[in-house]
Amino acid sequence: MAFTALVSVMPKPGVADPQGQTIEGALPVLGYTGVHDVRVGKRIELQLEAANESEARQRVVEMCDKLLANPVIESYEVTIR
């Protein structure tokens, strides 16, 4: 079966996020106040073949552990469709 996997990889809490900070700093300049805790990460979408959803999820989780995320600084979340 064909599945779509949506992976979001975000900087771990506590790990400084310069991109997020830069955006947070720029928003007020553009007139957007009251915005905080901006975090910037990656969004990865892919198609894969698998026998069933749980197998699909398991393979994508493996890919994240091995390649898509760096456990020292990033955490990830997988959604299968």
Binding site: Q19, T22, I23, A26, V29
Partner: protein, 737 residues
Amino acid sequence: MTTALSLHRELGLTDEEFQQIRSELQREPTHAELAMFSVMWSEHCSYKSSRLHLKKMPSTGDRILVGPGEGAGIVEVAPGVAVAWKAESHNHPSFVEPFNGAATGVGGIIRDIVSMGARPIALMDSLRFGELGDAPTRFLVDGVARGISSYGNSIGVPTVGGETGFEDCYADNPLVNVACLGIVEYKLMQGRASGAGNKVLLFGASTGRDGIGGASVLASAGFDEGSDDKRPSVQVGDPFSGKLLIEASLELIRRDLLVGIQDLGAGGITCPASEMADKAGSGMHLHADHVHLRQQAMEPFEIMISESQERMLAVVEPHLVTDALAVCAHWGVSAEVIGEVTATGKLEVEMQGETVADIPVGALTEQAPLLDRNRRRPEWLDELQKSPHGGGPPDDLAAAVMSVLASPAIASKRWLWRQYDHMIFLGTIGPPGGDAAVIRLPDRETAVAISTDGPGRFCYLDPYQGALLAVAEAARNVAAVGALPVAITNCLNFGNPEDPAVMWQFTEVVRGISDACAAFSTPVTGGNVSFYNETAGRAVFPTPVIGMLGVLESFHSAVGTAFGRDGHQIVMFGSTDPGDLGGSEYAKVMFGVVAGRPPKLDLEGEHNLHLLLHRAADAGLLVSCHDLSQGGAAVALAECALAGHRGFSVDLSDISPGGELHAALFSESPSRVIASCPEHHVEDLVQLAAEYRVPVRVIGVVGGGTLDFGPFALMLDDVERVFEDTLPQILSASMDR
């Protein structure tokens, strides 16, 4: 489905051109044929408005191995050592999408160099933006800088210098010109499709709908508007594929596996296919369905004109195809044989066994329209030239020097060049910050010096005179580091050629470049023309960017701008005309005036200065040397002091006879440099100057913590703060998307 008649208009072809196509073919063109004609006959590919005039530029010389008309010009810089040197513009794409526009501009010029069999070893970027007051302009500057940085750094070619200017006229038409230097590694290649029966190899990135004509082209192909996937998309730079493409191409050349090679740029596959066949007097038969596609259901016309990046077309003898494919595979570059060379003199394209194009090669190349457009000197120019240059005395000289140093055009460009890898290859003897970049050739004593200059304001006030000054400044920058100027490339940025005033500016500039290059014996090795740089009827200043190439027999004799030791004598070569304030940075910064006439230039005197400096550097007489340009003596002296972290005291009171001190400080008279040397070298320098009939005088001495101009003095630290902090402060506001 639109009819063929309106389709040609949507493709940007005139009715006359459409008739000409019909008679070339003796029938109605197919959709694919029309699309192929539209790109090959476009201004960008055919140079239809400029060809006639460019022919007049001097392009031959003992050192010129390959002149204009190939991927890049080739210059012999030492016995048996040849370099490729070429500039390209990517103005419009950079305005639409600064990051990718600039990045793909770098990729494009690099592939031009590689297509000659040369390894790219240095880049220079010449940039023009609107005034930095506007947020959109700051966003553009940031995006362009990141684009050049991300592509050039990743592909591993140092960006060693450039220039950056700010004028209102560029606000909606930024100029992004990039020049690339390469060294011929194994053998000189040329784009030739010789030998009927030889195979045509397309290698590099896959082909998508990148940068195809415009939405109308696709609409006309009967697409359902809704589907995003069908819309033409911006070209995205892929430096990683670009790097692999360079290595694969150079290895194919080193192993002698290619008959000919040409890069794919504007015009997609159609351009190299027709040009290589044309130059070899052969033909080509291509299978559009053998092209490796990135997107589904692409029409034949899309495949033929797609401008997807990072691709090359090569001609290979049948028995070498396997080896060639193996080389590409090693580098992870995909490659397909998409056709073969024929003797038909035609470019035939088939898709699923059906012929979709069958065009006499010449019809796409030589037969392309050649226009002698109307030109007329604009009425407003007399007014402008008659009006005063506006460079009157300031209330406060010290404050005036500070204001000029704080002008973004003058202030340090470190903010830009620290984002560029300018050190890779261990050849950058003269890094960004000096007059010209000095590049030691890999594992050699020989070095080359390169500089890009394009004084748009001067060309606006007087296109011919401005062009002379552009070539003169570029040559002077190269001579100031001790090199002998030998050849130029150029990028001519203008408005709409259908406007007689713009066309007049263009021909005047070409005349000026020709005269200056003849006088300096620096032939034109090639270049690029960018027209239609205008928005809402407002054109940019005529901006010819000159890329000068100079030669140093030994990198050891290279001279920098930094004052070296306290007590060294400061010498000024050349004479200062207090009237040379028209179009000056001083007049613009202090009084907001750009009017009058640009500085006068004595071609012979300028040339003599170049020869003198080359001799003096060779003889090791100079500790530092810096040419005078924007901002005049005040800025040049300040830059020498900042570079050397030491002050000076000078007396400029008598350098400009009959002039006031502000004129001596800010006049932009050409043919001048400021040098420093130990006392015991002064006599030799004076003798050399006499030999070359160049005026010379000692104007002061190096040392101390102040810039002492006599009547007033500035603290070195204050000057450094202004010079270094201006751009970072203004641009820190720019945002990363």
